[in-house]
Amino acid sequence: MIRDITLGQYYPGDSKIHGLDPRTKIICTFAYIISLFLVRDFLGFAITVAFLSYTIFLSKVPLKFIFKGLKPIFFIIIFTFTVNMFMTKGETLVEIWFLTITKEGLYNAFFMGLRLILLIIGSSLLTLTTKPINLTDGIERLLSPFRKIGVPAHELAMMMTIALRFIPTLLEETDKIMKAQMARGADFETGNLLRRAKSLIPLLVPLFISAFRIAQDLAMAMEARCYRGGDHRTRMNAMRFHWRDALASFAMIGFIAIILLQAYVF
């Protein structure tokens, strides 16, 4: 059960998109998401699809992986689509018994469905092409200007890095505790929802105790190596902007300009 879990969605590769600075990728993803909400018609989405397809092509991530990200929200998409189609009032196109499909409904259904799909694919491209650790570094650097107003950028990023390191350890630990409790007669699988939820408590308490034992050791090891926070720390792999980051940023600015022009000028 625990063997099945892959941490995150990272798809290893050395494409042009993989090689971008994580900061560039985070900011571009933000800009992309905002641009999706600026689009007002299908022509705008056609431009977006073209832009996104080219980015996916450059990233060399197989389409199979891209669409895998859609699986968990498949039901939302279908649900959104159906309800929008049947519930929107307007000019009737088809009438089957009590269900009517209107022109506006059909338009809404496709519009909302497409936006949702583009939203998920676009933002999963960030996690597909960036290692969680690099993402954390990027976030730390992006947040560091806010240190002046009291945002503990380094501490948050450090916590994130440690957490990422310990997730597999704790998954394994959970598995062990689960088996140990089952051997003692614990039942995690039957009963109604509330009962099943309650059955997790004998799992959580030992998990915490073991997690905090790990924390104790780690804190001691860090202090023994004179860890004292973010100031004056140097990095093994310093992040640097390259010409391709500038290129990517220009492409993104160009894309948003086209979307804005298409939606609000022409």
């Binding site: 995150g8 968990p72 939203l119 501490e155 948050l156 957490a163 997730i167 308490v205 924390a215």
Partner: protein
């Protein structure tokens, strides 16, 4: 002292993420009951849980399938709730309330506006709050009771 706070936060974040990933299909999506949200009672026991839960939710959503908006709004909801739970730490029965409210009022509208889930707004809010209440009151409250007896591990 500071290192310990940092590491405690990190471990709480890791437990949150591990539990979320372990109970994967139930943890994400519209009809979610995220068992790991039971951990939102922890600020009552240790202030390190405030950044811990925030990071935990951030990482869990980062590894999850729902994209950037869920990462930002979901973890802010958790952060607000954790701060409020910390303030309410002397009233155990109220400790699980902030996450129910914060998630209902932030994630509900998010589903409605961003993911365009086509049910009325109040239903989105109620639905999220209900899933959250099952996790926070059903598991969180008993967890708080047991962990209070073992407060020494948080020191």
């Amino acid at each position: 002292m500071k290192t310990k706070y940092l590491v405690h936060g990190a471990v709480i974040a890791a437990v949150y993420t591990a539990l979320t990933l372990l109970l994967m299909p139930l943890s994400y999506g519209v009809m979610q009951i995220r068992v790991s949200e039971a951990l939102t009672v922890l600020p009552a026991l240790s202030p390190a849980a405030i950044p811990g839960l925030f990071i935990g939710c951030f990482v869990a959503n980062m590894l999850g399938p729902n994209g950037m908006i869920d990462i930002i709004l979901g973890s802010s909801a958790t952060l607000l709730a954790a701060l409020a739970s910390y303030k309410l730490r002397n009233r155990p029965l109220l400790v699980p309330l902030p996450p129910v409210l914060a998630n209902g009022l932030i994630i509900g509208p998010m589903l409605y506006y961003v993911y365009a889930v086509p049910v009325p707004l109040w239903a989105c809010i109620l639905w999220v709050a209900l899933g959250e209440a099952i996790a926070c009151y059903g598991i969180g409250l008993p967890l708080l009771r047991y962990m209070s007896k073992r407060k020494s591990i948080f020191r």
